[in-house]
């Protein structure tokens, strides 16, 4: 099930897309169809960000489960310099990427960030995340409607001396 092309974003194509069975799409995916002119809080999948497990977060976010793939490249440090600012970068050679998500499994809420990748945008993103403790970090790529993951372990401890 590939996403209806949002651009050019004429009323007719948008309406046809919505008529085309929005019921099967989760709220998150449906909201991708509507053009938004500024960041809109309604786009934010609050429930997905409250989940404690990877599977639950992905179920709410994409409505499906994921499988590992070597076509997803996750760059994360082996030992985090500081758990408050951990540089993370993910890229993929998979086709038609429409979404990327980053999960930090040992954080109180596993989903750290999700990104919508419209047509014409490269399947790669870099960011800086917070990690509560030593954890597995999972990158999820949504390609042709299916989810593929790569993961890395990041050691996180308190920095510095005494106190």
């Amino acid at each position: 099930m590939t996403f209806p092309d949002v651009a050019p974003c004429g009323r007719r194509t948008a309406l046809k897309a919505i008529a085309g069975g929005v019921a099967t799409l989760s709220l998150f995916e449906a909201s991708m169809l509507l053009p938004a002119y500024a960041a809109d809080a309604k786009d934010w999948p609050a429930d997905a960000f409250k989940q404690k497990s990877e599977a639950d977060a992905l179920k709410l976010l994409y409505g499906k489960s994921a499988e590992p793939s070597d076509k997803v490249d996750l760059d994360a440090p082996e030992i985090a310099e500081n758990g408050a600012v951990v540089p993370i970068a993910v890229t993929s050679t998979l086709p038609n990427v429409t979404g990327i998500a980053l999960l930090v499994l040992e954080n109180p809420y596993t989903l750290a960030a999700a990104y919508k990748i419209p047509q014409g945008t490269q399947p790669a993103v870099a960011s800086r995340l917070k990690m509560a403790k030593t954890t597995k970090v999972v990158a999820v790529i949504e390609s042709d409607g299916k989810l593929f993951t790569a993961s890395k372990d990041v050691k996180v401890t308190v920095g510095g001396c005494g106190g």
Binding site: P77, E81, A84, P87, K155
Partner: protein
């Protein structure tokens, strides 16, 4: 716990010297020895790279640092510092009127010894002296505006070589010596000196962090530490180091802090300004 402390208390009571042995103070000779210590101990580290502290010592940390430096969080502090630096005081004057070259590209000359006051003047002290001379209240030495101002002034001096002067004036030599003494004196319940970490253990890990070598350690000031989540000045770094070894810090810009900054920055002469710096 008490027993350990009593043991510490029974340290050999060094007989107080009736009169301090008049040891001569030779900054130049000590400069050469100081530099030789670090360059021979870390032969693979390029001299100029010492200003990057832990990142000249550990590949994994360096990679993360490089990524953060692409668009570092201290950008906001530099922009705010630039804005504050240009904002006139109530009397219409600005910081530019207090500093040589209008305050641009001069960080490499601080701290300097001021013969008139007989004091070591650090950049932070000079900024507050400028404010007070123009009828403004002094700033908190450790964070916020002072950190933003010194970040901007360091940014405008990036790459310039440190050029700290110790004039042939007994008061200047005394300040250098007191700074050196502070640097090597063990303090706090953990009984560490600056040298315990930044000389003997330079390059070693302490939890996730790597101890920066003392050579060039002042070059990146002020620093934005991920730990603080904000910009901090040399004063903030020195006082927090004291607390970490459980020594009660002196007031920021206390004479001893300014002397140790004078001593340490002098030891980094010739190295490039790398502030403001991002640190763990």
């Amino acid at each position: 716990m008490l027993r350990k402390l009593l043991l510490l208390g029974v340290l050999a009571f060094g007989a107080a010297h009736p009169a301090r042995a008049a040891d001569t103070v030779d900054p130049k000779a000590e400069f050469t020895a100081f530099r030789a210590y670090f360059t021979s101990r870390f032969p693979k580290v390029a001299l100029d790279d010492f200003v990057n502290g832990p990142y000249s010592m550990d590949e994994g940390l360096r990679k993360q640092w490089k990524e953060i430096e692409e668009f570092p969080p201290y950008e906001f502090a530099v922009d705010k510092g630039k804005e504050l630096f240009a904002k006139p005081f109530a009397n219409g004057k600005t910081y530019a009127d207090c500093f040589p070259d209008k305050g641009i590209g001069i960080r490499q000359n601080y701290p300097y010894f001021d013969p008139k006051s007989g004091q070591v003047i650090t950049l932070e002290l000079a900024l507050n002296q400028c404010r007070e001379a123009n009828g403004e209240k002094p700033l908190d030495y450790q964070k916020d505006d002072m950190a933003a101002l010194t970040a901007y002034m360091a940014f405008t001096s990036r790459g310039k070589r440190f050029d700290i002067k110790i004039p042939d004036d007994p008061r200047a030599l005394a300040a250098y010596r007191k700074g050196e003494e502070y640097f090597y004196t063990r303090r706090g319940q953990l009984n560490f000196s600056c040298a315990s970490c930044h000389v003997q253990s330079a390059g070693n890990h302490i939890r996730t962090e790597v101890l920066a070598p003392a050579l060039g350690i002042m070059a990146a000031m002020p620093i934005y530490r991920s730990e603080w989540g904000s910009m901090g000045t040399t004063s903030r770094r020195l006082t927090s180091c004291n607390s970490q070894v459980r020594a009660v810090p002196l007031p920021p810009q206390d004479e001893l802090y300014r002397d140790v900054e004078y001593f340490l920055t002098y030891m980094g002469n010739g190295l490039p300004v790398s502030g403001p710096g991002a640190r763990p």
